[in-house]
Amino acid sequence: MPTTSHSIPRLTLGPILYHWTREQVFDFYAEMLETPVAVIYLGETICSKRRLLRPEDYWELAERVAAAGKEPVISTLALIEADSELKTLQRICADERFLIEANDLAGLDFLEGRPFVTGHSINLYNQRTLAFLVQRGLKRWVLPVELGRETTAALIKTRPAGVECELFAYGRLPLAYSARCFTAYNRNLSKDDCQFCCGDYPDGLLVSTQEGTPFLALNGIQTQSATTHNLLSVLPEVTQLGVELLRISPQSTHTAEIIQVFAKTLAGELDPIEGTAQLRNWCPSALSDGYWTGKAGIATA
């Protein structure tokens, strides 16, 4: 691995994308506080009907994260349609104790003028969008997941000073959002009477092709990839580009071990190939990394 002037990227823990029980969420974060992640994103980003944790609960968790010497970031809903959703977002954004991640354009409206983060569902595809958002207060952006090495390199090269780049480095890929709840749809329930059936699928509901290939995972109004995107396999390249942060997206099991594998590989204590072999045992179906090299997201290098 060639030496560079770039420092080692920090690890971040993305928001929990699934509908886990309240107890499971609190247990999960108690465990995560002991891991080597530097940043923890907290908040419901998928469905406004999921209210097992309220903004107050996430703020309390954020205090704990800060007390543990990590950076808390409050993450917000990815698709804002209803008035009630907009009001909740406004309430979350009115709190100025913590950095906030905007995931819908509405967040930009409320957060403009103070430091904020854009999540992967904000379409930041080029240098002009980046410069424009930096002028509004953007401090860190998570690259849209379909973009790869070439665009990452070009954006990092031309970015304004002081803005950090975060990559979605591990997890089922967030691919699409809809008005329809696909989990309820496939359980023959209406969205208004969903019975919170998404809670039955702690890593999403698997969709396979007619020849049995795992293809997608349904998570309420979000469609994810069935494969788990993994940048560990190309970590030396990622590090060389000067990316500051790497996001690990929570899964219902093995998240702490996955973080350890990334941390050890970043520290040079574990070979990326060997680390990837370990991750393969813990991901729900298979690994992929095609987006990084400009190929289909489902592909592997």
Partner: protein, 331 residues
């Protein structure tokens, strides 16, 4: 309420104008627009002729530059904006904040519309785009119910355009990467969903198979109709059951709720289908012209004519149509 119709080439543009469109939307022949299909779209000479034809008949022409530019190729998007302005089109339909920033700064007097690909679904998002780029219209994604559309119109100073008819995107436009996940190219990056170059059709003993980027997205018996091969409308295995996991091969038709659309204060209604035929544009434009005129005359007693439904059904993709997200139970 303006009727905005699609044109993938000059004969389609003329057909839309002749059959009653108030505006026609078109694109350039590259990946700067979301219907980047082989053989489709306009060169400058065709646009000039189309503009003359439309303007002579008091019809507007909009150019869609509604994909997302990356650093490699950025100049193609700014050049497209320059071209559209030079040609004198009536509005430019944009999605990318960087391209919007460029256009608003360089051409403060040009009409900018926020494309459906810009993913603005609420007053705050639209307000942000309006404040910074002075957008004159927003095309809203197909996720809102009609009640939500009506409420949005009350809450935003920006005139609202909605999709009324055509192929139905199930996901929030501009925020769907399913196509690039399967084949490497998406509407955002390439200007097409499920691009033809990545689609394979094959007859097998198990039935006719459709693959996108090698992924089996549908297998049907030979007597079942084949639709446009978008992966969100294929049949998959969900917990051991074969089903349309995302959506059935259905398309959008809002004719039945036209009085509600008018009452909500919608400024323009858009017909999808720049990739379709001249016949499609002629027939759909004519039906919608008649329907809008009839509904505006007598909104309280308006009922769609059976003949309109028959014509629209003949040109619809898939066997069925739906009111889609405008009707809450669809969600």
């Amino acid at each position: 309420m303006e009727l905005v119709c699609p044109a993938g080439n000059l004969p389609m543009l003329k057909a839309a104008v002749d059959h009653g469109a108030n505006a026609v939307y078109i694109g350039f022949r590259d990946d700067t627009n979301a219907r980047h299909f082989a053989g489709l779209n306009f060169n400058d000479k065709q646009i000039r002729e189309g503009l003359n034809y439309a303007h002579d008949r008091k019809v507007k022409v909009f150019v869609a530059i509604n994909t997302y530019a990356q650093p490699n190729g950025w100049e193609r998007w700014t050049a497209a904006v320059d071209r559209a302005v030079d040609l004198g089109v009536d509005a430019i339909i944009l999605a990318d904040m960087g391209v919007l920033d460029y256009a608003a700064e360089r051409y403060p007097n040009v009409n900018l519309h926020l494309s459906v690909q810009g993913s603005a679904t609420n007053p705050a998002a639209i307000g942000f785009m309006h404040r910074h780029f002075g957008i004159k219209r927003v095309v809203v994604p197909r996720v809102l119910s009609l009640a939500q559309v009506a409420h949005l119109i009350e809450e935003t100073p920006v005139p609202v355009e909605i999709f009324g008819f055509g192929s139905l995107c199930v996901m929030v436009e501009g925020r769907c990467l399913l196509s690039s996940y399967a084949c490497g190219q998406s509407p955002n990056t390439y200007g097409a969903c499920s691009p033809a170059a990545h689609v394979e059709w094959r007859d097998t003993p198990k039935g006719q198979e459709t693959r996108l980027g090698g992924v089996l997205i549908e297998r049907r018996s030979l007597n079942e109709p084949a639709g446009y091969p978008t992966l969100c409308k294929g049949r998959y295995d969900v917990a051991g059951e074969l089903r349309h996991a995302i959506e059935e091969p259905t398309s959008l038709n809002t004719l039945d709720i036209l009085p509600g659309i008018l009452a909500a204060g919608v400024s323009a209604i858009k017909i999808e289908g720049r990739q379709r035929s001249t016949r499609y544009v002629s027939q759909v434009t004519q039906v919608w012209r008649e329907a809008i005129d009839a509904c505006q005359r007598n909104p309280d007693t308006f009922r769609p004519k059976e003949s309109w439904h028959q014509i629209l059904a003949q040109v619809s993709e898939g066997a069925q149509t739906t009111i889609g997200p405008y009707h809450r139970p669809w969600h």
